[in-house]
């Protein structure tokens, strides 16, 4: 057995000093730890090294910055004393980042051969809060974020970026069990950045994404003025739920995550990463009908369980200021084709999409006599099959990459691994994660 010391290793942001909190351990002293699986984390902050920069400093909109770390060999963890400072000293960034600082050892039977085993592998995490009020200190990437991201890489590497814009089926795969990209970090071979934008309050179906890509600042101003005019004219005061929901709606309408650029502090210094090279979507988020604003023409899709978060004034606004537009499969196909073309033109990103589970172990249809035609208007599995076929055709005609959830789930048992058709087991998530990483790491056809 070898006792391998674990040091922090290099982490730099040109023009800044990186400060860190005390260690918050995820694995207790004496426990087994797997290589590449985070065993602890720090909160970090970036302090300007010289004069304060003019304008908004980097990372100012990402108030939750953390660095998680993992050993490069598996073994039994031996914690060094004095690094878990406790209380607010484990929350506030108080110590300069020291690459040589040793915080633990790992007792291992593996024979590390490249000299890197003594340096921790780092997972950098950043969360842009939906509101600065959402300051939660409870774990990895805590709080309510309008965008969260995690990145990693070795010196000299530039991470490629995957943007996740989906509902639970994609979010669970990309974010993982701790909602901090730790499983992707563990499985990935190269330098990557994972970015996740959640589905609240507006779900990222394709018409919403097209609107974001096409909306001009003047159009956003018109929407904001229209909302102000509508709610300002109401006789009854808005509830707290109405205000909070509207603030979140405006934040989503103003942003365009597909075009976002990202700053990243890395072992090799500060890097500016361009828009995502790949965007992953979920077919399951596409509704059969969508709301369209009667006057300004923009779309709105709030999933049923998120509608409950809106106050009465917002619910009334959604019902009166918007019209319902039906979306047959052909309309959804056209939307996908438009999106792929738009994204290719604006950023060049490749689009991946998780298809839908199209079989169910919970039904026992002996005859279709009892179901009105067209069957896809009634039967969810038939509708899912039609959508999957459509997606495959878009893939063939426009170069979209399909992540075949349908086949992966069927192979291991849909009833057990995706019991409601959306929420997957850990095993199924692992299979899908591997497929996504293989696609990311493969050269583009």
């Amino acid at each position: 057995m070898t006792l391998v010391p674990l040091a922090l290793g290099p982490l730099e942001a040109t023009g800044f000093r990186i400060l860190r909190s005390g260690v918050r351990w995820l694995v207790a002293d004496g426990q087994w730890c797997e290589k590449d699986r985070p065993i602890g984390y720090f909160n970090v902050s970036l302090e300007p090294a010289g004069r304060l920069p003019v304008g908004q400093p980097r990372f100012a909109d990402e108030m939750d910055l953390q660095v998680a770390f993992a050993p490069r060999v598996s073994g039994r963890l031996k914690l060094d004393d004095g690094h878990d400072r406790g209380g607010y000293l484990n929350i506030r960034s108080i110590e300069p980042w020291d690459p040589a600082a040793r915080i633990a050892h790992v007792e291992t039977g593996e024979a590390p051969d490249d000299g890197t085993a003594t340096t921790l592998r780092l997972l950098m995490l950043a969360g842009r809060r939906m509101t600065a009020l959402a300051d939660v200190h409870s774990g990895l990437l805590p709080g309510w974020h309008s965008r969260s991201r995690g990145w990693w890489g070795e010196p000299g590497e530039t991470p490629r970026t995957l943007l996740s814009l989906g509902v639970c089926d994609v979010a669970g795969v990309v974010l993982g069990g701790q909602a901090a990209f730790t499983e992707m970090f563990e499985m990935a071979r190269g330098a990557l950045q994972m970015v996740h934008v959640p589905d609240h309050p507006i779900a990222p179906c394709v018409p919403i994404l097209i609107d974001q890509l096409e909306r001009t600042p003047a159009q956003y101003e018109a929407i904001a003025r229209d909302i102000h005019g509508h709610f300002g004219a109401l006789a009854d005061p808005l509830t707290a739920d109405d205000w909070i929901f509207l603030g979140a709606v405006l934040a989503v309408l103003k942003n365009c995550p597909i075009r976002d650029r990202h700053d990243a502090f890395t072992s090799g210094g500060l890097q500016q990463l361009g828009p995502a090279e790949a965007v992953i979507l979920s077919l399951a988020v596409e509704p059969q009908s969508i709301l369209r604003h009667r006057r300004l023409g923009y779309h709105m899709h709030v999933m049923r369980h998120h509608q409950a978060a809106a106050g009465p004034a917002v619910r009334s606004w959604l019902a009166s200021a918007f019209e319902t537009v039906k979306r047959p499969v052909e309309a959804i196909r056209r939307d996908y084709e438009t999106l792929v073309d738009l994204v290719r033109k604006q950023t060049g990103a490749r689009i991946m999409c998780l298809n839908r589970m199209s079989t169910s172990g919970h039904e026992d249809i002996a005859s279709y006599l009892g179901f009105d035609a067209p069957l896809s208007d009634t039967l969810s599995t038939v509708a899912a099959k039609e959508m999957n076929v459509m997606l495959s055709e878009v893939a063939a005609s426009h170069g979209l990459d399909v992540i075949d959830l349908d086949a992966a789930a069927a192979e291991i048992g849909g009833a057990e691994h995706v019991p409601d058709g959306i929420h997957q087991s850990g095993l199924l998530q692992t299979i899908l994660r591997r497929e996504i990483l293989d696609l990311l790491e493969a050269p583009r056809a």
Partner: protein, 122 residues
């Protein structure tokens, strides 16, 4: 002959279901293929989750029978095994007897629709 329809264990993890709509009335003679009820199964009834794992199902008759009693209405929550309806082969047959067996039905996953108790998607 009297038959019954009870809430079956559609999904292994479910503890119950909510009646979303009923498609027949007592006294109706229903043909094979007739719709009986639409149900929603929310697995977060058993496992609390932010995004509710809800799926929707329709119960359809696989044999002809007369609907004699419907013991549920839209919005009601049912436990697995709870009685949904009683049927008979003869419309005038007394109901004060033990059901012969379960009526043969089909269960299919369906899309949410506007006539459901849970309402229209905004």
């Amino acid at each position: 002959m009297i038959f019954e329809v009870s809430l079956g264990q559609i999904v292994p993890q479910m503890s119950g279901a909510t009646v979303e709509c009923v498609h027949a009335r007592p006294g109706d003679m229903l043909a094979m293929g007739s719709k009986l009820v639409d149900l929603s199964v929310d697995l977060s009834r058993a496992f609390a989750q932010e995004c509710p794992p809800v799926s929707y199902y329709r119960v359809v008759l696989r044999e002809k029978a007369c609907l004699r009693a419907l013991t549920v209405k839209p919005g009601e929550a049912l436990d697995v095994g709870e009685l949904v309806a009683l049927f008979s082969t003869d419309p005038a047959e007394p109901l004060d007897q033990t059901p012969e067996r379960a009526l043969r039905t089909t269960v299919a996953g369906i899309m949410h629709h506007e006539n459901m108790f849970s309402g229209q998607q905004l």
